[in-house]
């Protein structure tokens, strides 16, 4: 059941650009990325799009569809009325390179600032032991496909270029929280998260959580617990909850601040 889809696609580069109208034939079960690929193959061979897996696994194809930050490959055309015009624009928070492709180097720079995992030596039999329940919290955060949609959405940087140097953004708060909750990690990154990474600038609006295609509960499960751990290192109510749900009680003892 094919039909003609009307699309408006932003085309341009650093110096400016505009929405371009295209009408393209689409069929049942297709996603926005399919429609764009057809435009590329038949109408605009040089239309710049970033994509890899076409299965929501690599986080390359982030853009804004009718103003909403989404993955192009996981947005089905059946979510829209057949008469509706679909408008596709690049992520707004990052500088445009060309068409739908943006310069996301901000995120790769922030990744470099994060002190990495620091485990103790292995057990005597050369293996490591962790309980499933203790790794599950970190595993939720490690589902992150680095689509940077949360980074794009967070109002702290979305319209405030000036905040970028001091703010790592939700994707990296997730990483701080992951390491902080890692059953074996020996570093204490709480001061760093609060200070250099700008955790304090987040006012828990949860917009990041809403756009995460992996459904990671960034604000509730990572940011808020991290904030609590930072605020009160002596009495941390979360540790009590943590104990109840089986998280390792990580206090300052035995950890080196970085």
């Amino acid at each position: 059941m094919g039909y003609d889809l009307k699309m408006r696609i932003w085309r341009g580069d650093q110096s400016g650009g505009d929405l371009e109208d295209h009408t393209v034939e689409v069929s049942e079960g297709e996603v926005v990325l399919d429609a764009l690929h057809r435009v590329q193959a038949t109408q605009a061979g040089d239309l710049a799009i970033r994509w890899n897996c076409k299965a929501g696994k690599c986080g390359s194809c982030s853009a804004e569809i009718n103003g909403k930050p989404r993955l192009l490959c996981m947005t089905r055309l059946s979510d829209f009325d057949t008469s509706e015009t679909i408008t596709v624009t690049p992520m707004r928070t990052f500088p445009v390179i060309r068409d739908l492709v943006t310069d996301v180097s901000f995120n790769y720079e922030k990744a470099k600032e994060l002190p990495s995992f620091a485990p103790p030596p292995r057990d005597a039999d050369n293996k490591r032991r962790m309980q499933q329940i203790d790794v599950e919290r970190g595993q939720e955060f490690r589902k992150c496909i680095e689509c940077f949609l949360c980074q794009n959405t967070c109002h702290v940087v979305r319209d405030h270029e000036e905040n970028k140097p001091a703010f790592a953004g939700p994707r990296f708060f997730l990483r701080y929280a992951e390491l902080d909750m890692h059953p074996l990690d020996t570093h204490d990154r709480r001061e760093l998260a609060q200070g250099a990474a700008g955790l304090g600038m987040c006012n828990i609006t949860k917009c990041c959580t809403e756009v995460c295609p992996e459904g990671i509960r960034i604000t509730d499960n990572a940011i808020i617990p991290m904030k609590e751990r930072v605020v009160d290192r002596k009495y941390d109510p979360l540790l009590t909850i943590g104990n109840l749900i089986g998280l390792r009680n990580k206090d300052t003892e035995g950890r080196r601040e970085v």
């Binding site: 580069d13 069929s27 049942e28 079960g29 297709e30 996603v31 399919d34 590329q40 193959a41 038949t42 605009a44 061979g45 040089d46 239309l47 710049a48 799009i49 970033r50 994509w51 890899n52 897996c53 076409k54 299965a55 929501g56 696994k57 690599c58 986080g59 390359s60 996981m74 089905r76 390179i97 060309r98 068409d99 492709v101 310069d103 996301v104 180097s105 790769y108 990744a111 470099k112 990495s116 995992f117 485990p119 292995r122 050369n126 293996k127 490591r128 032991r129 962790m130 309980q131 499933q132 790794v135 970190g138 595993q139 490690r142 589902k143 992150c144 496909i145 680095e146 390491l179 890692h182």
Partner: protein, 610 residues
């Protein structure tokens, strides 16, 4: 990405760098190689076509095969070695299979040292799951997103070490000084500007070739660049006739046709049924695997709990067997409405179990096909997935026939013989990535100040060749040629092959080559996918020719290569590899036979019938 600025239609500008080791590709293999090179003291560059962390490795689902013995203490490298060789129908490079089985466990533990969070056993050790062709539950995994865990861990490690990364940068040529590698040439996708790397060691880690087929689980990156670069530099490829069609790809909706459905679904209890509701795999157990495969439903079902006293379900035969069986059922008219067969886990496991063990499959079917896999069966069919063939390398160092040129991961050949077992690719990337990084560094240091040099005339020629598609007047659009090639490879060089169709495909490839000479691209050099494809297409064509030519020559059926006109394996063919090279004119492919490396007697004893 890169901070490079250049006017889109400008032609000037050349960036130059000098390194000890340049790694092309940042999937698991490239990342592991770069880490090893860095650790060995080399100044190392890591170059990739996509952003860091987006390579194919990120899509791997099931797990990493490594005989750690966490679930089955009986498991060890010898059993893994035997499974690998049998899975590859004995055509594997025995030494690679041995090294892989021996070293994979430590490579997995290393990932854990670097922060990977694998699923655990009750004792708190790394959990291991069942997969086709592996005697014991052996795949270290994280739900069904193991590749993501692996690439993120390696990426974070590489960033921590401060390795220089050149992302969205495509290598189009290699340079040589006499018979030694001297560097590589490429362009920044973002700006179209050219870049030259001067280095005595280049490691190819560019992945596979699947984009030459229409129905595939592979992405746009899989255009066989490393395979083609190696050939143009004078190295040879082996085993190119062996392409793995994964038995379970999605078949509907059309836009996701080919997308992978992980083997873990079967490892975790899923079964295959035809439209008549029959669990048909019991009819397709080959002689070779009879003694280790259950022949009744009851025994197969008991196996999940009691592996000692029961044999494996036939759904867990190696991939080539299962893919052929599915193909036959569909051909016999017992397929599903959308031309697949049913993969059913809904009737066999609880919804909680399925969501916990297979979260991305649950998500993928829900979002893309409106199918709830905890309540209804999936419709699946074979999809082009992996190429066993690749650059012929030395087993211990991964060096090709060209001094200073190494190949590792999916773009190298030999390790998997005629068919790869699931989970053996991720292990392969780690084991041989490390070895290649170390060997490349050692060779580079041995040169001292006497390093091979780049000839400026070669640089000029490389630039001209890359820009050629802009010069054409009125030629054809590369997208059309690509899609015709994909259709042709799918139809004529697919899962079941015959001499006449392979001959037809070779003449079609010749025609594509002619069309590609007059290929034209629109627009300018800045982030222009049409131009990028025009360049990649040359690689796809040469690799497709290798596959078709080798497939025509091998007159038997073995592993990933099935000939309708030669249905069985042939003992004589079982003793040799097919090797392909670029011909002297550089326009086509030459092919010759080569005896397999001889396995030492002490390893042969693993295969004697007990």
């Amino acid at each position: 990405m890169t901070g490079n600025v250049m006017s889109g239609d400008g032609t000037g500008g050349m960036e130059r760098h000098t390194y000890d080791v340049v790694v092309i590709g940042a999937g698991g293999a490239g990342l592991r190689a770069a880490i090893a090179a860095h650790d060995a003291g080399a100044r190392t560059a890591l170059v990739c076509k996509s952003l860091l962390g987006k390579a194919h490795t990120v899509m791997a689902e099931g797990g990493i095969a490594a005989a750690m013995g966490n679930r089955w203490p009986e498991d060890n490298w010898e059993v893994h070695f035997r499974d690998t060789m049998r899975g590859g129908k004995m055509l594997n490079n025995w030494r690679m299979a041995q090294l892989h089985a021996q070293e994979a466990p430590e490579r997995v533990m290393e990932l854990e040292d670097w922060g990977a969070l694998f699923d655990r056993t009750d004792d708190g050790l790394i959990s291991q799951r069942d997969f086709g062709g592996h005697k014991y539950a052996r795949l270290a995994h994280v739900g069904d997103r193991t590749g993501l865990e692996m690439i993120r861990t390696l990426q974070q490690r590489a960033v921590e070490l401060g390795i220089d990364v050149f992302m969205e940068c495509t290598i189009t040529d290699l340079f040589k000084d006499g018979d030694k590698i001297s560097g590589a040439f490429g362009y920044w996708r973002e700006s179209g500007r050219f870049i030259t790397f001067e280095a005595p060691s280049v490691i190819l880690a560019t992945g596979g070739i699947g984009k030459s087929f229409k129905v595939t689980s592979n992405s746009w990156e899989y255009t066989g660049d490393g395979h083609a670069l190696a050939m143009r530099a004078g190295a040879s490829l082996i085993n190119m006739e062996f392409v793995q069609f994964h038995p379970t790809g999605m078949v509907w909706p059309p836009s996701v046709k080919g997308l992978l459905v992980t083997e873990s679904v079967r490892g975790d209890g899923g079964i295959l049924k035809n439209s008549e509701g029959e669990r048909f795999m019991f009819r397709y157990i080959p002689e070779f695997f009879k003694s280790e495969t259950a022949d009744t439903i009851e025994e197969a079902d008991r196996w999940y709990e009691d592996k000692k006293n029961n044999r494996r379900p036939p759904e867990l035969l190696p991939r080539d067997e299962v893919a052929r069986a599915i193909n036959s059922e569909i051909k016999a008219g017992r397929g599903t409405p959308h031309g697949g067969i049913y993969l059913d886990i809904a009737s066999r496991r609880t919804p909680e179990f399925i969501r916990k063990r297979l979260p991305s499959m649950y998500h993928q079917f829900k979002e893309l096909a409106d199918v709830d896999i905890t309540a209804e069966p999936m419709e699946i069919g074979p999809t082009c997935h992996y190429v066993m063939g690749g650059v012929e390398v030395d087993a211990d160092t991964q060096e090709s026939a060209i001094t200073g040129l190494y190949a590792v991961g999916e773009c190298s050949g030999g390790m998997h013989g005629s068919n790869r077992l699931g989970g053996n690719s991720l292990g392969d990337l780690l084991v041989f990535g490390k070895r290649a990084g170390e060997a490349a560094t050692a060779y580079g240091s041995s040169l001292g100040a006497d390093r091979p040099k780049i000839d400026e005339a070669d640089v000029k020629a490389a630039a001209e060749s890359a820009l050629a598609p802009f010069e054409v007047e009125g030629g054809e659009n590369p997208y059309t040629i690509q899609s015709d090639l994909q259709q042709s490879m799918n139809d004529l060089v697919g899962i079941i092959r015959t001499a006449s169709e392979l001959e037809e495909s070779l003449s079609e490839i010749e025609a594509f080559k002619t069309r590609a000479k007059a290929m034209k691209v629109e627009g300018h050099r800045q982030y222009n996918p049409g131009w990028h494809l025009a360049i990649d297409l040359r690689n796809m064509l040469i690799v497709s020719e290798c596959i078709a030519k080798a497939a025509l020559a091998r007159e038997e059926s073995r592993g990933g290569h099935t000939r309708d006109d030669f249905p069985g394996p042939d003992a004589v063919w079982g003793t040799k590899n097919l090797v392909v090279n670029l011909n002297a004119a550089g326009t086509g492919v030459d092919l010759h036979e080569k005896p397999l490396p001889v396995m030492p007697d002490e390893l042969k004893t693993y295969f004697e019938e007990k």
